[in-house]
Amino acid sequence: MANQPQTGTAPQPDAGAQKIQQLRELFADATDVGKRALENVIKELSSQVSEPPPAIESAGRVGARLGKRSELTIIVPLVPGGAKRLRTFLQLLGGNLSPGATKVGTLHDMRFVFIDNDTRLLFATSFDGDWDTYIDDFIALIPDYLDLMDSAWDGWPGIRDPGAKDYLIKHQITAEGWFVAEPDLTLAEIQRLKRIGKATDEFLDKVQ
């Protein structure tokens, strides 16, 4: 702890400590709740920053990925009458999108949320792998379901249109924070583990 003056030869604080310091300065303007919370975890945070978790990567053209799992978040404007049609379609299925969605073997979860008085729709999914492959899967496996729902979207050109991907990209917003409990398990791997679990249970029952 020498109080060395700022000479060129002074040891530089490591990058992690610098970042923590910057964050602290930013939080000087935060509410007391935020400031106190930061102080409570600052030690833990410092050690995490020196041994950081793997950073999120890109899912391809757009979106974030951790390990094998990616996120897609789209907010689109709805055409007049679009919300009503889409909602009626969703209600027909009891809101459960599994009839179409289970056909896409890389889709973990998916939600449709009406926002801003039914003028916009949030569509958010979690899926395996790369953006382009995922959209191609939708196109190949459930093009009609997609068009049925997306026709509520203002300007949607149709999934078979060469402009479809550009439309999606235009309205997609990449997450800046992302977490997946099992980033290294694809849906296919989870399903394989389920079969193994069942088989082992049966095996153990038999040998008893």
Binding site: Q22, L23, G34, T73, L92, R111, L148, S151, W178
Partner: protein, 209 residues
């Protein structure tokens, strides 16, 4: 193809599958050509799904949100305080955008933070196990400070230890009207299967030695 006009009413629980599909068809009369064709393409499949093997409907996750089986969704869109986006982004960048601290909660499947509308709003969306109240309680007991660091960017956030915290969250939550989860297992069950699979691999390796 009857010429009946404006006969159908909004779907009710008493309606037959046929009636529900017919109502949808009428609504789609105003839709673009593209989606009318799409509807005709799947109509047969749709009818049998609605009539013969309807999927279990989504249920409530409790105070807000939808649930299918064991897995629920939470979708929040909150206004950000001035400077909030900058602080929140700096915090996220410090972690390389990877929020793996959420693992401590034990019931979170996935979770995303997305800045909207020129950094004036934030979308927070997660998939988790079980009931809304239990989930928020888990956050409050297991990672209260991380939550407050993140949520300090939310305009008017009272702090997770405040008795008003849940009301605040419920106020900004928007329940999904369509929801799908492929894996019907909890995070804990999935992890157990993962261990099980590993143990089996080791066992098979050993007996083939």
């Amino acid at each position: 193809m009857t010429t009946q006009t404006q006969r159908s009413t909004v779907p009710e629980s008493g309606q037959t599958a046929e009636e529900k599909v017919q109502y949808l068809r009428e609504l789609y009369a105003d839709a673009p050509e593209l989606s009318k064709k799409a509807l005709e393409n799947v109509l047969g499949e749709l009818k049998s799904q609605v009539a013969d093997t309807p999927p279990p409907p989504i249920e409530s996750a409790g105070r807000a949100g939808s649930r299918l089986g064991k897995v629920s969704e939470l979708t929040l869109i909150v206004p950000l305080a001035p400077g909030g986006a900058k602080r929140l982004r700096a915090f996220l960048q410090l972690l390389g955008g990877n929020l793996n601290g959420a693992d401590k909660v034990g019931t979170v499947h996935d979770m995303r933070f997305v800045f909207l509308d020129n950094d004036t709003k934030l979308l927070f969306a997660t998939a988790y196990d079980g009931d809304w109240d239990a989930y928020i309680d888990d956050f409050a007991t297991k990672i209260p400070d991380y939550l407050d660091i993140l949520n300090a960017a939310f305009e008017g956030w009272p702090g997770i230890r405040s008795p008003e915290a849940k009301d605040y969250l419920a106020k900004y939550q928007v329940t999904a009207e369509g929801w799908f989860v492929a894996n019907d297992l909890t995070v804990a069950e999935t992890r157990r299967l993962e261990r099980n699979g590993k143990a089996l691999d080791e066992f098979l390796d050993k007996i083939s030695e």
